[in-house]
Structure formats: C-alpha cells, structure tokens
Amino acid sequence: MTSIDPTLVEERPGDRPPILDGPNDYASVTEDVCRIAEPPVTQTPKGWLMGFALASTILLVLGAMVAHLFLTGVGVWGNRSPVFWGWPIVNFVFWVGIGHAGTLISAILFLFRQKWRTSINRFAEAMTIFAVMCAGLFPGIHVGRVWLAYYLFPIPNQMQMWPNFRSPLLWDVFAVGTYATVSLLFWYMGMIPDLATLRDRATSKVRRLAYGIFSLGWTGSNRQWHRFERAYLILAALATPLVLSVHSVVSFDFAVAQLPGWHTTIFPPYFVAGAIFSGFAMVVTLMVPARQFFGLKRIVTVRHLEAMNKVILATGTMVGYAYGMEFFISWYGGNPAETFTFVNRAFGPYAWAYWIMVSCNVLAPQVFWFKKARTSIPIMMVVAIFVNIGMWFERFVITVTSLSRDFVPSSWGYFSPTWVDVLTLIGSFGLFFTLFLLFCRFLPTVAMAEVKAAMPEPGHGHAERPPAGGAEPAPEGGR
C-alpha cells in the first residue's frame, strides 16, 4: 500500500481541490468503473475468487450456527439470567450502526452539497444494505420459535391479536424495516442510470438482458433526469431524518427501560453519533483495500479518505462527549444505582471491555487531529479497525454490564458467550463480505453519473477549478 498519493499537493486555505485525481474525462470515468464489473465469469480476478471463497466459507459457518440454533433452541447461546439480552442484541445494534454511514453519505452529505461523496456513496450504500441485512438476521433468529417470527409484524391473524405498539421493540421493527426498504430504494434508484451504462456497454446477451431489466429502459432523457433529480433530492431529504430516527429508535429499546445505565435522555443522539462513527470506520476499512484492488485510486482519492477520517474524528469525539455526560449526570443526579452502574462499568468485572471501548472509540481517533495521520493509509486502516472493535464493545458494555448487575445484588451474574455466539458473530461477517464481493463484481461500484455531474467540464472554460496544481482565478487581492 502506498502511504500518500503523489497527486495530493499541499493546498492553500481557500482552495477547492478537484474531486478526482489526474486527467479524467467522462469516458475514462465510465471505463474505470465499468471494467470492474465487465470481465466475463471465466476471467474473474484470482484475488476476488480467493476472497469470495473465504467469505462464503464463513457464510457457511453462519448457516451451520443458525441451523444448530433452530434445531436445538436459544439455549445454545450464552443468554441466561440475568443477561437475557446477550450477544444477539449486541450484534444487532453493531450491524445496524454500521448501516448508517451509507445513507448518511448519500443523503446528508448530498443535502450539504459535499461533492466528494459521489466517489464513495455507492459503496457506502451497498454496505448499508448488507449491514442492515446482517442486523435484521439477529432479531429474526433470536425469537426462539422462528416460525412465529411473523408475530413481529402487525398481520391480521386467527388469534385476533395485535402487537403492542407502545413497545419500543415494535418501533424497532418499523424503523429497521423502513430503513432497509428506503435504503434499498435509494441505492437502486441511484444505480438505474449506471446500470443503463453497463447495459449499453454489455457485449454478451445475458448481461445485456440482465442489466436491461434492472435499468428499466433508462435512456438518460432529460425529462427523466429532471424528475429523477427531484425524486433523488426528496429521497435524500426523507432519508436524513430516517437515518437519525433508526438508531434513535434502537436507543429507545434501552432508554425507555428504568435499568441504570440505560435510562438516560442523551441516548438517541448519542447512538446516532456512534452509528455514523462505526459506519464511517467500516467504509474506510472496506474502501482502502477496494480502491487498491480495483484500481479506483483516481476516483477515490486520499482526500476522500481524509474527509471520512475527519468525520470519524468528529463523531468519535461526540461519542466521547456522551460517555462523559452519562458519567457526570450519573453522579449529579444522585441516584446511587446509576452511580454504581457507571463506576461498575469502569472498575467492575467488565472493566476490560469498558477500557477497550474507551481507548478504541475515544482515544484512537484523536490521532486524526494530525493531517499526517488522516492521510496515511496504514494509520487510518488501523484506527478504522480499532473503531469497529470499539463500537462492538460499546454495545457489549451497554447491554451486558447494566443487565448483569442491576438493583438487587442477589441477582447479579457474569455473562459469558458460548462458542455458538462467537461463531455466529464471525459468520455474520461472512454474510456481509459475500454480498459485498458480489456487489463489487457485478454492479457499478461508483456512482458514475454523479461523479460526472460533479466533474469540471473537460475542455470548457467555465470549469470550477482546473486540475490540481494549476493556477486559479485568485479572489485574493481584489482591489
């Protein structure tokens, strides 16, 4: 891995660096992106095949664990009194959190006109969808009698029973379900023009047919674009509050309870910040090897990664703020059970988990205050992986420490996962990476149309900025 892009020139304050590196035109963007998806099956790159073999093997492990769970019952997990919400909920919240970066990059950064997002949004959206699938798996399988999982939904049934709409667990069903649906629509809609590009470049009949069906006959007509852009803007405007709501609702699962360490009002924004944090870390974790492997360095530049690292720093610090506020108010509020819970987190039997969480989530990203660290591929990779680990432990700390030691010392306990817990978590990564590799191989990994729209127009004088290094119409001086 290279440590720094040669094109990353030191920019002066007030510069607008170009979004892409090197000489690019519309055709080269099309070519760079499409050639990843276009080789025939027989010419699949070896590295991809190896990765896919590994990921699908791990996916098989997940399948085996789920089968074992179904055939034997939830007793194969470590969930037992007093910790009935063990690893499954930790994994669920972890994956849902990961799934927040995609929609954030697509929607919120779109509304904020952050054009650098165009290079990575497709990637991040795909990641969102796969992460939400991994997340949805856990509530689905943890209900014990899985063939009754449809009880989660308000479906008229022969017992004339309806779910309890006053329960945050049902809100969760609606929030995660809506989120998965809207993310899918958003992802797919943004992809239609790019699928049309693949259709028009396809050489084999099968590909032409397949891409043809999914591109719905898109021609790039401006009358279509006009409505498409409005629809995309509306979807972005809808997805923005949605993305905030999803993790807020997940936080309600905990915060409406009166359990010390769960019942605190900052939970909704705190969870949302944590979700964005973990999602961005996962995007960096995936993007760094992917741009290397698929030759996307001109489109996904170090500047893109640097911008993401800044978001990681910001959200990591917000998470640190929430940890601090919780601690402070647990003392200020004067409820001895609350105070005990927080002291117990930091110095009790799970202190190891707590300090892993703090060092990974709050301390590690602080290196991103330095530009050197933000633009160094090895450092950002290490920090991003730390953050992934730290965010998993955050959910572990919240869930397990509060449950294992609540008000009554006689009912305290210590939670230990079983081998099935561990392999199920690992297996969920298999699901994630299998889907992700399939996406990279067959679908447009970069939103070509959006990148082109954000590019300076080649050969035209009205370009916002000439390519890097060039002179610019300097606004300084003025008089």
Binding site: G14, V256, T265, F267, T317, A322, G333, P475, R479
Partner: protein
Amino acid sequence: MQHSVDPSVIFGENRTLGPGRRKLMLGALGVGVVATAASIVLGLAGDGQRFQRAWLVSLAFFLTLSLGSLFFVAINHVTRAGWSIVVRRQAELFASLLPLLALLTLPVLVPLVLGSGELWIWNDHAWVEGHHHMHHKEGWLSMPFFVVRVAIYFAIWTRLARSFLRNSLAQDADGARVHTGRNQRLSAPALLLFALSVSFASFDLLMSLDPLWFSTIYGVYIFAGATLGCFAVLILTSMLLQRSGRLEHAITTDHYHDLGKFMFAFVVFWAYIAFSQFMLIWYGDLPEETRFFANRATGVWGDASYALLFGQFVVPFAGLLSRHVKRNKPALAFWAVWILVFHWLDMQWLVMPNELHEGVAQPALFHVLDVTCLLAVGGIWVAGYAWLARERSLVPERDPYLGESLAFKNV
C-alpha cells in the same frame, strides 16, 4: 456546477452600517439603559424573584443567539463552507457580543453572591439542608465554584469569538489567505470547547434552577434552540440590512433559501431532541425525572407546553416545508420572527416554572418585568452590535471563498 463570480463586485456595494450606525447605537443603548433601570426599580420595589428570573430569560435568549452565531462561524470554517461567506460577518459580530453578555450576567450573579436563593434555590442553605439528594453536590452547586465556572465559560467564548473576528477583520485589511487558514485550524478545537462549555453552562445557568432534576440531553437541547435562533436572526438582520440599502446584491434569494433550509432543519432537530427528552422521561415515569414536566403540565404552563409543541415545531414545520416559502422574503421573514418569538417562549418555559417549595403558586406566564428585561438586554445587545460593526465591512470582503458565495445557486 458552481461558477465563480468576480468577488470584487462586492466593492460596489454599500457594505457598512454607515451613517445610521450612531443613531442605532445610541437609540438601542438608550432603550437598554432605561429598561434596565426600570427593571431594577420594579424588581427592588416589587417582585425581586420575578426580576431575576425575567432577567435570566432575556439573558438566555440573547446568549443563545450569540452562542448559535459562534457555532455558525465555527462550523462553516470546519466544513470549508463557501455559500455562507456573505452572511458570516453578521454571525461573527453577534458572537463577539459574548463578553458584553458576560457583563449582563451581573444582575443575576450579584444577588447570588450576596446569598440570595430566589433564583438558584441551591444557594438557599436551609432548603439544601432539607434535601438529602443535594448533599453530595453541595460543592458543585456552591456560589464560589458556580461563579468561577460561569467566568470560565465566558472566557472561553470570548476568546474564540475574538479570534474568529480578529482573523476575519485582518483579512479584510490585507486579503491574506493565512487568516482563513488560522480560522479553519481554530474551528475544530473551538467546536470541542464549544460543546463542553455550552453543555455545562446550560446545566449551571438553567438546569440547576431545579437542582434535583437532571437530563443528559439538556446541553444538546439548548444547543438546538440556540442554532435555530441564530438562523432566524441571521435571516432577519440580512433582510433589515438589505432593506436599508446595504449588501443589496451580495445576499441573494439563494442564500435566503439555504438559511431557510437550515432553519427548517433545526426546527426538526429541536423537535427531535425535545421529543427524545420528553418521551424517555414520560415512558420511564420516574418521579425524580417527571418533576420537570409535571411542573409544566398544568395551568398556564401546560398551555405553554402545547404552544411550544405547535409553535416551535408543528406550525413552522408545515410553514417552512415548501421551497417557495423559503425563497419568498416576506414569508421567510414572518417565519424567522415566529421562530424568535417561540425561542423566547422556550427560554421562558425553561426558567419560570421551577417551583420547588410546596404550596407555592405557579408563576404567571407573562409579567411586565419580562418585557422590560427583554428590552434591557436586547437594547444593550443591539447597541453592542452597532458599536462592534463600526465602519467595518458587513461582509468578509476578501475571503477566498467570497466569489463562490456570491455565485451561489441553490439546487
């Protein structure tokens, strides 16, 4: 694709407060001083407690506007925003009023130092004695430490606001980009300091009015209201400046559209934070937490709660949804005024109904002191603005992003 406009067109603009400045400053100062005197007289002669509370409401109102402006400046630097340059100087000036607001804390801090527990009841030792839940935080909520903390908050804010304004003004003079670089570098740590100081300041100045109550989201709630108020005030001052023939071409419908979008976004954000706080407390139903809403659930304060729900969320949400409204100046001005009115009510709602002595009647919703105190703080605040603006440009006229901002077109 954003095109750039030659930024020197700005020099054709009427871009200082100019001749009207003296009149504005003296007029506002006159109103402020007279209202302050009237408030103090009314307070001493009649309801001293109401005076302190009303003063705190007015202080909180203008303090949040200035803090929101400080946030606006910092967040625009940290994101390298280009569109907002034409309105940034307003925010820089409002933020630089923070040291003035430090001075305006005296009417509530002096009684505190003199031992009054009328406003902050934790200063009433007899009351604290009777509440064992107070004993562990007696050191935290004690007069000397409290005053020291307030001084620290204002020191932080003053330092940040001064640095931003100084660099920006220096750029007006020499046009060097290094000033932009300085402000950008300052902005990230500034936001960190801002988050911590605003949170603890809101805990101290407002949340400790009911020292038995606590909510971790309180700082975020204050921040949401502050930023919302800041956008409303930016819209209104821009319009007033333009109406009086200043910056007529610099600020366009597209800038108003964007400010309107942000105002709309923060209406939603405020509602999100307020709902999170309310719903979790309502759902948990623990007496030590519900006391806050119980105090605001009956009588006129129950009506005020509903007024906030509709006035600060439902109605402006529906009103600001359409892009046509955000691009229509009179309509946007109406909503900006509306937001400010309800932001004031929000502060009133936070400060007034905190009756901790059993059997004491709820305070009235409105009182003549509320008006005089608002005029007092507001008059001095506006006078401070006019004094700060002096003959200075009302746009950062040599900012490197200015061309981009002038050419800004909304999607």
